[in-house]
Symmetry: C2
């Protein structure tokens, strides 16, 4: 199976890359210096420690994020980077943080539960005690039956989930056959997919409208708080926001998210007609003294007279969700990108182009930091009105898929860049990174650059336990980081940006996209 | 591999069982009735739901255990069993339960932690705030350096643990080769093992003495509370007792147990010289109005004039630890044993011998319920003074290894009984139960019977996630139960006790052991 897969990759490379025949140069002397610094003197785990354990969670608009922004700016300066700064990307909205989270069953018998207030929900104003009530609304008419019954109740609104038993490992790495599959050329979307997407979008909007009606009724009827679950097992649970962060957004009810088992227990008890009493207390705080959002930026200035105004950018988002310390999402990416800069700085490399690092804010709420940066500095995807800096921009590299080592890179359909990346990955085959795919990957900040026709890339990373344990959960903490993986990623990124900065030409681009007016 | 393993089993059976040549009868008509009732009309998950979700945790001496005792007595009566009763097994000590558990980091930044008060520790008397402090004592002289520094501190005393990433599944079932290994005859302990055991015992005693000295110092110096960890990952943590339950035991400090990641974070911060502030609140209650311990007993009376005074006993402990609802340890065993009785009752079987069910108390503190029962009713292992009932006793079957289905049975070295169990397992081979081993297994209530020379057996069960997620953890809840496994176990137990009750003779016994005076 392994041999077959490798053969497929080779075949694909031959077919796909004939357009560009010249050999992409690789400076192995520099690569070896980067490896030595990055593997023997690594500071990536120390950086991650400060971002997670010491700093804590970094929700957009929170003091946690503000502190992390200031710390990274200071750290980058201490490493000798130039012009480290916080740069406003636009208006975010209300900040929010929490200062207490407690919930327990008090009847039939005491049991403390594992839960976290949803972001941007208000606190309970002290310890509240109340009866639990299951509210099942599948259509608007279902609302009527709860009329007059919700006063002071602690309401369960989500459906129970299956609490699977994990006969498969939480964590995994890509096998050769997985990588071969990723390397396969993308296939066009089948006919009718747009119709499906539209239909799904309509269903989603209808569901959201119904949810709003449920929320309005719960508030109008005087429910005390809401409990909900979006899964997670064995003490792990997912978190998200429970209300908008817009300045003028109305205040929601206090709401806590919890894991599958605790939530299911409450549902089972209520469905069996058992009286369930709960006590809970959350303290939360809205922050409105500064409604702006920020990115952290710093540079290793270019040294070539003609090329120093051109920019190679690397980054990852520094904001996180709030239930843990956002280790794999995305202190990992931040620590690796900072470490790549540190490595280049420590090895005394003088890049031709300017290398910039950007630690984005508010990625979790919609890539706001990187979108704001692109719009302000490079071009507006709505109009495709582009700046001078757009012309001077070589490439953006992003890291935001957890703690796993780099196994390759997504070219986002940029065929011309593929042979270059192949060449740059060659010295890292022995470290497991060798896959170049024309496929797109989504979900994070490289998309902001791709949207204005600039080369924006995300690396392929081993999944480890991102989907089962860490991504947006209360268990995304330092101990989930894989030190060796982060070291490997740091040296690969350092080498990529070095070579991008030293290349004769900027990286090749895809054709400019058409303007995409905001919906 | 599988074929080789099966061959080994067959070989072993030929060598091991030649002593008893007559064919053990199996009533397949009854077996089919039992399967039908147990698989098609099962109530085992309903019973488990009442024991876990509805009842809650069942710590020895708690009101939770008292309520579960009363509920099982009532339920067994409703099913038509006779003489359901609570029977005192002896003096236990102080009861204990908790009514609040909350702990959080407040500096450097708020983070709620997952933790549970250790059993028999006092509460904090309201919300306490304090600085965290790491106390590392490897020898008695280390105590001196903390003198005068512990007042009001929240002290961390255990070592950090490795927070592994789970590239292996949490849950597993026995493969054929695992079962073949279990079926291999036991090997004698290698020479010198006793010396090793003694040396380990001495080390353990020395460690316990040092711990007591640390505890005494923490109390004397006025530490506010203790945090410790014995492992567990991703929100799962282990629990235990933090002080003795003896009536005259001195009051310890408030102490909470937590999982690996939360604990490690605190240790890392403290080792890095970071100031860590915590807030915590536990409310706990000591119960001393009834210091006795109880077992729940009920019967299907025997109907054979000569044999009805003979007893077949089945059971499992009903007490649990307190951080969750004790689903796999051991509501599972209780629900299966109750279900086996219900199945026999429902099928209208008239056993020759009396079949009794016993739900033991205080197993977790040292098999107290079953030991008390044996000493009171059957014989004293310290003197080997035996009762008349000892003579009338056929066998005891126990279930206490989690939610996994039955894969066979441990004979505890009773060679004569092996062919009987082989015959009785034959109708259940298709359901995965076929292994009979001469090996011993320990750790639970069948040992109390073995200690006075009576046939006491524990079934072999699939492990599922007992060792990784449920055993003594805060995640031992209803959702971890495997319904199909519990149904399978119920019909096998029902068939075993039916055949034990109908057999011409009581089950064969091993030679009586020598008296073992208490240390």
């Amino acid at each position: 199976m392994k041999k077959t897969s490798l053969l497929l990759v080779a075949l694909f490379l031959q077919v796909g890359y004939t357009a560009q025949a010249q050999q992409e140069p690789v400076n192995l002397d520099i690569v070896n210096k980067i490896k030595k610094e990055g593997l023997e003197n690594s500071k990536v785990m120390e950086t991650a420690f400060y971002l997670t354990d010491v700093n804590g969670s970094r929700l957009s608009g929170s003091t946690g994020l503000a502190r992390a922004n200031n710390w990274t700016k200071k750290q980058l300066t201490e490493w000798g980077l130039k012009n480290a700064r916080l740069e406003e990307w636009g208006e975010f909205g209300k900040g929010w943080e929490f200062e207490k989270s407690y919930v327990a069953i008090t009847a039939p018998y005491y049991q403390h539960l594992i839960a976290t207030p949803k972001a941007w929900t208000p606190g309970t104003n002290g310890l509240q005690k109340g009866e639990a009530m299951l509210v099942t609304v599948e259509k608007e008419e279902d609302l009527a039956k709860y009329k007059g019954q919700l006063k002071g109740k602690i309401v369960l609104v989500s459906n129970p989930r299956e609490a699977t038993t994990t006969f498969e490992a939480d964590a995994k790495r890509y096998a050769e056959e997985d990588l071969a599959k990723i390397a396969e050329p993308p296939v066009a979307a089948p006919a009718g997919q747009n119709n499906n997407a539209n239909s799904r979008r309509e269903q989603y909007l209808a569901m959201m409208q119904l949810r709003t009606k449920v929320s309005d009724m719960l508030k109008a009827e005087g429910a005390a708080a809401v409990l909900s679950s979006r899964g997670g097992l064995h003490g792990t649970h997912y978190t998200s926001n429970g209300a908008p962060y817009a300045v003028d957004a109305p205040v929601a009810l206090p709401e806590l998210e919890m894991g599958t088992e605790d939530y299911n227990r409450l549902v089972r008890l209520l469905k069996a007609g058992q009286k369930v009493e709960l006590e809970l207390e959350t303290k939360t705080k809205f922050l409105d003294s500064d409604l702006k959002g920020y990115n952290v930026l710093a540079e290793i200035p270019g040294t070539d007279r003609k090329l120093k105004d051109e920019v190679v950018l690397i980054g990852g988002h520094i904001d996180s969700w709030h239930a843990s310390t956002g280790a794999t999402d995305n202190a990992a990416g931040v620590a690796v990108m900072m470490e790549a800069m540190r490595i280049l700085q420590a090895t005394g490399i003088k890049p031709k182009r300017t290398i910039r690092i950007a630690l984005w804010g508010a990625e979790e709420q919609g890539l706001h930091g990187s979108r704001g940066y692109v719009k302000k500095n490079l071009g507006d995807p709505a109009t495709m009105k582009l700046t001078k800096a757009h012309e001077k921009f070589s490439a953006y590299y992003n890291l935001d898929n957890g703690t796993g080592k780099i196994r390759g890179i997504y070219t986002q359909g940029n065929e011309q860049v593929a042979p270059t990346f192949e060449a740059w990955l060659a010295p890292f085959h022995e470290m497991g990174a060798k896959t170049v795919t024309l496929k797109n990957t989504g979900g994070t900040d490289h998309l902001s650059f791709d949207a204005v026709g600039l080369p924006g890339f995300q690396f392929i990373q081993d999944e480890i336990d991102y989907d089962t344990r860490t991504h947006h959960t209360n268990q995304d903490s330092y101990d989930r980081l894989q030190a060796d993986d982060l070291k490997q990623a740091s040296v690969i990124v350092a080498s990529f940006i070095y070579h991008t900065a030293m290349r004769d030409k900027k990286l090749p681009r895809k054709p400019l996209p058409a303007p995409k007016p905001a919906l």
